[in-house]
C-alpha cells in the first residue's frame, strides 16, 4: 500500500471530502477555510511526526486502543449516515445505502489481504471524482476561474427550470443551517404529495402562525419575510426563476463570506489539527517522495472540492434550497450532463464515495492494528469486534444525523484523548500517565460537549470551548503529560 493512499484513506473519508464542496457552497470563504484545514492539517501532522523519534510507549496501554475504537466508530457512523442520505437522495430506501456500504466494509473485514485493495479502490474513487468534473466543465464550456467569476457576480441565486423542485416536485430535507425556509419575495409553493405546512407570517409588528393541510396540486402563496416549516418527507414544488430560499443574497455575498465571528475558524483549526496528529501517525519517518505524493494527492482532492462547489453554485443553485445538504453534492440535481453513454457520469460520484469508504474502513482497521500489544495487528482483524462496531454504527445511521458534525466530533475526541500523547510521548515505565491524560481529555471533552447542548445562544469566544471542546480538553491532557514528565525529572 503506498504512503499517499494510506494517508488519503485515513484522513479523507467520504463524509470529509464530500463535506468540502458542501461547505464551500454553503458559506464561501468559511468553507474554503475548512478545505484548507483538511489539506494542511495532515501535512502538518506528517511534518511533526517526521521530527519525532518513533515510540511505542503506549503500546501496552489499553486506553489508546479504546479511544481509537471510539474515534473510528464515530467516523464509520458519519460515513454510513452519508451512505443512507445519498441513497435517499437517489430515490432508494435509506437502509439500502447503509446496507451496501456496511456490507462492503464487513466483507473486506473477512479478507486478510484487503489492504492490497486500497490503492485500486482509491484509483476508482479518483476516476469517479475526476470524470464528472471534467464532463461538467466540458458541458458548461467554462474554466473554473471564469466560473468562479460568474458565480461571484450573480445578482441572485434563482431556481432553474431543470430543478426537480420546480418540476415534478421533490422531497425536501432540511440541509445544514435553519430548518425553515425564509422567503425573500412572493413565492407560490405547491404540494406534490400530501403535505402539512406551517407558515409564520410577519406583517409589520404582527406575527401570524398558520397551518396548511395541502392535498397534491394545492398551493399556498408566501410573501417576502414569511417563514415556512414542513414535515420530513414532504414533496413540494417551487416556482421557476424565483429566489432560492436559503441561498446567499447574491454571488458577491457568497464570494465575500460573512465577516464577524472568527472564533469558529480557530476552533476548527485546533480540532482538525489535533485530530490529524492523532489519526495520521505514520510511525516511521516518511521519505521526501512519500511526502510529495501524499501532499499532491491531498491538493488534488482539495482542488476537486473547490471546483466542484463552484460549478454546482453556477449550474445547480437549487442546491441551496433549505440549506446545503452534503448528499446533494453527490448528484447535483439540475446540472446539465452529457447524453448517451454520458448519462452514467452522475452515478460515478456515489461509486467514488463507496470505493473511498471501503478503502478507509480497511486502513482505519490497520491503523488500530498498529496499536496492538502483540505488534501483529490482530485487533484490526478481530471479526467479532469489528462486526459489532459495523453493525452498531449501521443501526445508528438509520436515524438521520449530520455527517460532517460527526466527523468534527470524532476528530475532537481524537485531539483530546490521543494527540497529546502522540506529540509528547512518555517512556514505557510511565505509560500509565498516558491513560490518565487521555481520561482527563475525554472527561473534559464529554463535559463541554454536553454543556454545549444546554447553553445554546452563547456566542463569541465564550462559545469556543462549548462548540469545539478539544480547544480546552487537549491542552488539559497535555498539561497532565507535562506534569508527569516533570515529576519524573524531579
Amino acid at each position: 500500500m503506498t504512503f499517499a493512499a494510506r494517508t488519503l484513506a485515513l484522513w479523507l473519508t467520504p463524509a470529509a471530502w464530500l463535506a468540502l464542496p458542501a461547505l464551500v457552497l454553503e458559506s464561501g470563504p468559511d468553507g474554503l477555510w475548512v478545505g484548507l484545514l483538511l489539506l494542511v492539517a495532515p501535512l502538518l501532522a506528517l511534518a511533526a511526526a517526521g521530527e519525532r523519534a518513533p515510540t511505542s510507549s503506549s503500546r501496552n496501554e489499553l486506553f489508546p486502543v479504546v479511544a481509537f475504537l471510539l474515534v473510528v466508530a464515530l467516523i464509520l457512523w458519519a460515513n454510513l449516515v452519508l451512505a443512507g442520505d445519498v441513497a435517499a437522495w437517489l430515490g432508494w430506501p435509506r437502509w439500502r445505502g447503509i446496507a451496501v456500504a456496511a456490507g462492503g466494509a464487513w466483507l473486506l473485514l473477512a479478507w486478510r489481504g484487503a489492504v492490497r485493495l486500497v490503492p485500486p479502490l482509491l484509483l476508482i474513487a479518483g476516476c469517479g471524482l475526476a470524470v464528472p468534473l471534467a464532463a461538467l466543465g466540458y458541458e458548461a464550456d467554462i474554466g473554473p476561474l471564469a466560473a468562479w467569476g460568474r458565480v461571484a457576480s450573480l445578482p441572485a441565486f434563482r431556481l432553474p427550470a431543470s430543478s426537480p423542485w420546480v418540476d415534478p416536485g421533490h422531497e425536501l430535507r432540511a440541509g445544514r443551517g435553519p430548518s425553515s425556509l425564509l422567503f425573500e419575495e412572493e413565492h407560490r409553493v405547491t404540494a406534490a404529495g400530501h403535505a402539512q405546512l406551517h407558515i409564520r407570517a410577519i406583517d409589520g409588528a404582527r406575527v401570524t402562525e398558520s397551518d396548511w393541510d395541502l392535498r397534491p396540486g394545492e398551493t399556498v402563496t408566501l410573501r417576502s419575510g414569511d417563514e415556512l416549516r414542513w414535515p420530513a418527507g414532504a414533496r413540494l414544488r417551487f416556482e421557476v426563476g424565483k429566489l432560492v430560499p436559503g441561498a446567499p443574497p447574491s454571488g458577491i455575498a457568497w464570494a465575500d463570506g460573512r465577516r464577524g465571528d472568527s472564533t469558529r475558524r480557530w476552533g476548527l483549526l485546533l480540532t482538525l489539527l489535533g485530530g490529524a496528529i492523532a489519526l495520521v501517525d505514520v510511525g516511521a519517518r516518511p521519505t521526501r517522495q512519500q511526502m510529495a505524493g501524499a501532499a499532491a494527492a491531498l491538493i488534488l482532492v482539495f482542488a476537486w472540492g473547490v471546483i466542484w462547489a463552484v460549478y454546482c453554485a453556477l449550474g445547480a443553485p437549487d442546491l441551496f434550497l433549505g440549506g446545503v445538504a452534503i448528499e446533494r453534492l453527490a448528484r447535483p440535481p439540475s446540472l446539465g450532463w452529457p447524453t448517451g453513454a454520458g448519462r452514467f457520469v452522475p452515478l460515478l460520484l456515489p461509486v467514488a464515495a463507496l470505493a473511498s469508504f471501503l478503502a478507509s474502513s480497511v486502513v482505519l482497521r490497520e491503523r488500530i492494528g498498529g496499536l496492538d500489544v502483540t505488534g501483529g495487528g490482530e485487533i484490526g482483524h478481530d471479526l467479532g469486534l469489528w462486526s459489532a462496531i459495523i453493525g452498531a454504527t449501521a443501526l445508528a445511521s438509520l436515524w438521520p444525523a449530520e455527517p460532517w458534525m460527526l466527523i468534527v466530533v470524532a476528530l475532537g475526541l481524537a485531539a483530546s484523548t490521543l494527540a497529546p500523547a502522540t506529540l509528547w510521548p512518555l517512556p514505557a515505565e510511565r505509560a500509565r500517565w498516558i491513560t490518565v491524560a487521555g481520561l482527563v481529555g475525554f472527561g473534559i471533552f464529554a463535559a463541554l460537549a454536553v454543556a454545549g447542548q444546554w447553553t445554546r445562544g452563547v456566542e463569541g469566544w465564550a462559545a469556543l470551548p462549548l462548540t469545539f471542546p478539544a480547544v480546552v480538553a487537549a491542552p488539559a491532557a497535555a498539561l497532565v503529560l507535562g506534569l508527569a514528565r516533570r515529576a519524573r525529572r524531579g
Binding site: 494542511v40 502538518l44 517526521g50 467569476g149 511526502m291 510529495a292 501532499a295 473547490v306
Partner: protein, 73 residues
C-alpha cells in the same frame, strides 16, 4: 568538543525541526488574518478572483506543497 559539532546540534534542534510545522501554521493563519483586514481588502478582485480566494485556493496549496517537499530532510 568541536564548534562544528555544537553548531550542527543547535541548527538541527532549533531551526530545522520546527521550520516545516511552523511555516505551515503561519501559512494557515494567513487566511483568517487576511479575512480580517480593514476595508475588506481580502475581497479586492485581482485577475477575476478575490485576494482571499487567490490565497486560500491557489497560494496556500502550492506553498504547502513546496514547504512539505522542499524543506523535507
Amino acid at each position: 568538543m568541536s564548534l562544528g559539532h555544537f553548531t550542527a546540534i543547535c541548527y538541527d534542534a532549533i531551526v530545522v525541526r520546527l521550520t516545516r510545522p511552523a511555516l505551515l501554521l503561519v501559512l494557515l493563519a494567513g487566511f483568517p488574518l487576511l479575512a480580517l483586514l480593514p476595508s475588506e481588502a481580502g475581497n479586492i478582485r485581482i485577475a477575476g478572483l478575490s485576494l482571499l480566494w487567490w490565497y486560500g485556493a491557489v497560494a496556500v496549496p502550492a506553498l504547502a506543497w513546496v514547504i512539505t517537499v522542499l524543506l523535507h530532510r
